[in-house]
């Protein structure tokens, strides 16, 4: 996204969101909490998977870890909730470092990495469901938020932060190294790009940002159990939204999160299964028409409107 008009739109939007609680309904706020959560999650997923090409199907692991870190800290240790959020980030970071050291220090195939992450999510879910101290499968009840606005503003800043970070990295030297790795890992290595360091850094960054989101949502729900904390659909939604919007782009995950959340919300008034079916069909339609996701649609439309050259069909093009 370039140009003054685009930046102006973004600034206006952010200002609007900052001031919304003054006149927005409780429903609007809770809807936005959900949207902002997914913007943050999809963006964080994209920070790793979009830049390195390693699709993780279990990034929701850090969401669950963050939620439980918060639960343990607030309910069992009775510490201040803010500590819980910081702890969530710390726990996720450590987990990401450990997992990264095991998985990312080899040239593991992308498909296997994806499934291993999925498996780790399931393993942790089962293990947690058997720990009595955290309530096993019944989970924990958490003292609720005094006001939903805390969740709203936290997630708003997290979403903005993730998106801004994504933009900064993309336009930095580090980002250039990431693009090189995406294009050709071995060629990048022999040019001096430390692929392991890059992958690890993005993986840890991604996890560290997802953890606090999980913590805040745990507080927002005022309840957690292994099945909602480590719910596979959190992992899947992150993936779908990013790919839908356009992997590897800055605004792709944002668009994907907004639109898919919106569609889900709009459809949920009818029978829940019905809206999932329609949602599935819509996703199919879009991906089959434009596999590059919404950002590709945007780019194509943009060229058509401005009459520029057709976008180059190259691997990993922004």
């Amino acid at each position: 996204m370039t140009g003054a008009p685009a930046k102006g739109v973004i600034v206006a939007l952010v200002a609007l969101l900052l001031m919304l609680p003054a006149w927005g309904s409780a429903y609007a706020i809770s809807f936005l909490v959900s949207v902002l959560l997914y913007v943050a999650l999809a963006g964080s997923w994209n920070l790793f998977s979009g830049t390195t090409g390693y699709a993780s199907l279990g990034q929701g692991l850090f969401f669950g870890l963050g939620a439980y870190a918060f639960g343990v800290s607030t309910v069992l240790l009775k510490w201040h909730p803010v500590v819980g959020i910081v702890l969530a980030a710390a726990v996720s970071a450590v987990a990401a470092v450990l997992l990264g050291l095991v998985l990312l220090t080899t040239r593991i195939r992308v498909a296997y990495f994806a499934i291993v992450m999925l498996g780790v999510n399931e393993v942790v879910k089962t293990v947690v469901a058997n720990i009595k101290a955290v309530g096993s499968s019944s989970g924990l009840t958490i003292p609720p938020l005094s006001t939903n606005l805390i969740a709203y503003y936290f997630l708003l800043f997290l979403a903005i932060g993730v998106t801004a970070l994504s933009y900064l990295i993309k336009h930095s030297r580090w980002g250039l190294g990431l693009k090189a790795i995406l294009a050709d890992e071995v060629a990048a290595e022999v040019t001096g790009v430390g692929t392991v360091a890059h992958k690890m850094a993005m993986f840890v960054l991604s996890g560290t940002l997802i953890g606090p989101a999980g913590a805040m949502i745990a507080w927002y729900w005022s309840y957690i159990d292994p099945y909602i904390a480590f719910d596979l659909s959190v992992s899947f939604d992150m993936v779908v939204m990013s790919i839908f919007g356009g992997v590897g782009t800055v605004m792709g995950p944002v668009l994907g999160a907004v639109i898919i959340s919106g569609v889900k919300e709009a459809l949920s008034t009818s029978i829940p299964q019905f809206h999932t079916i329609i949602f599935g069909v819509l996703v199919l339609g879009l991906i089959l028409w434009c596999p590059g996701g919404l950002m590709q649609v945007y780019r194509i439309l943009h060229r058509r409107i401005t009459g520029g050259p057709r976008p180059a069909r190259s691997r990993g093009a922004q």
Binding site: K179, A188, R315
Partner: protein, 251 residues
């Protein structure tokens, strides 16, 4: 350890799932020269390059670069230590422009951390100018033809400020008119930049004319080593390439 050798390889062995790709390979590379690496297909030439650049690990043997052992170092570290490399099929980063390719080399390989963006761009442009692609700086690599891509890859390797450059069939895919300019670039790399070059090539006439020293591999072993004159007269080499009947003149 020989005094001023740039690269020294001793007793190098490597296996791949039961197949021995290289066997007891030893040689020394003197600095500032263009050394050709020859051999029929499957002789192990590219494997050798992969070992030196750290992409593969040897099963046995030593690789010493400028007095420093390379075993166990990651390819990125080796690149930063001063070994640049191009690939047979030409592997520039297809999602970047020519200049961006060179910048990756500059930022990561040459460790140009303190240079600002404008300074780096200027240096990158210089490298592209050196190889004659100055005008293509902002062109996406995906839009370039094979020859241009391979030269971009060469520029990228040069940008890492190597002491030694490993070129794997750089001329493969070039049409006859493009050969001379490319060969001139390699000569200039040796003469003006003082970089030692190891050059795998199938076009033997080129190697015979440009290299000061040749190493011939066959079935993973060193078959012969010497000046182009010596190699041309070597019957065993002719044998390996052409069989007993055609073993007359090379080059």
């Amino acid at each position: 350890m020989s005094g001023d050798a740039v690269l020294e390889v001793q007793g190098l062995d490597v296996h791949f799932g039961g197949v021995q790709a290289l066997r007891n390979l030893s040689f020394t590379i003197a600095p500032g020269k263009i050394i050709g690496v020859m051999g029929p297909n499957g002789a192990g030439k590219t494997t050798l390059f992969n070992l030196v650049t750290g992409v593969y690990r040897p099963s046995a043997g030593r690789i010493v670069f400028g007095g420093r052992p390379l075993q166990g170092l990651s390819p990125a570290r080796i690149a930063r230590a001063g070994i640049g490399r191009t690939f047979q099929s030409g592997r520039p980063f297809a999602n970047l422009t020519a200049l961006e390719n060179v910048l990756v080399g500059l930022y990561y390989g040459a460790d140009v951390r303190r240079a600002g963006a404008t300074d780096a761009k200027r240096r990158g442009q210089e490298v592209l100018d050196f190889v004659g692609l100055g005008k293509l700086a902002d062109r996406p690599v995906a839009s370039l033809n094979l020859t241009e891509r391979k030269i971009v890859e060469l520029a990228r390797a040069l940008a890492t400020r190597p002491r030694m450059l490993l070129l794997d069939e750089p001329l493969a895919g070039f049409n006859p008119l493009e050969l001379e300019p490319a060969i001139r670039i390699v000569r200039r790399i040796r003469d003006e930049l003082g970089i030692t070059v190891m050059w795998i090539e199938h076009i033997m006439t080129v190697l015979m004319e440009t290299c000061e020293h040749l190493i011939v591999l066959h079935h993973g072993e060193k078959l012969a080593e010497g000046t182009p004159g010596e190699i041309a007269a070597d019957a065993a080499v002719g044998d390996a390439y052409f069989g007993k009947k055609g073993a007359t003149k090379l080059g």
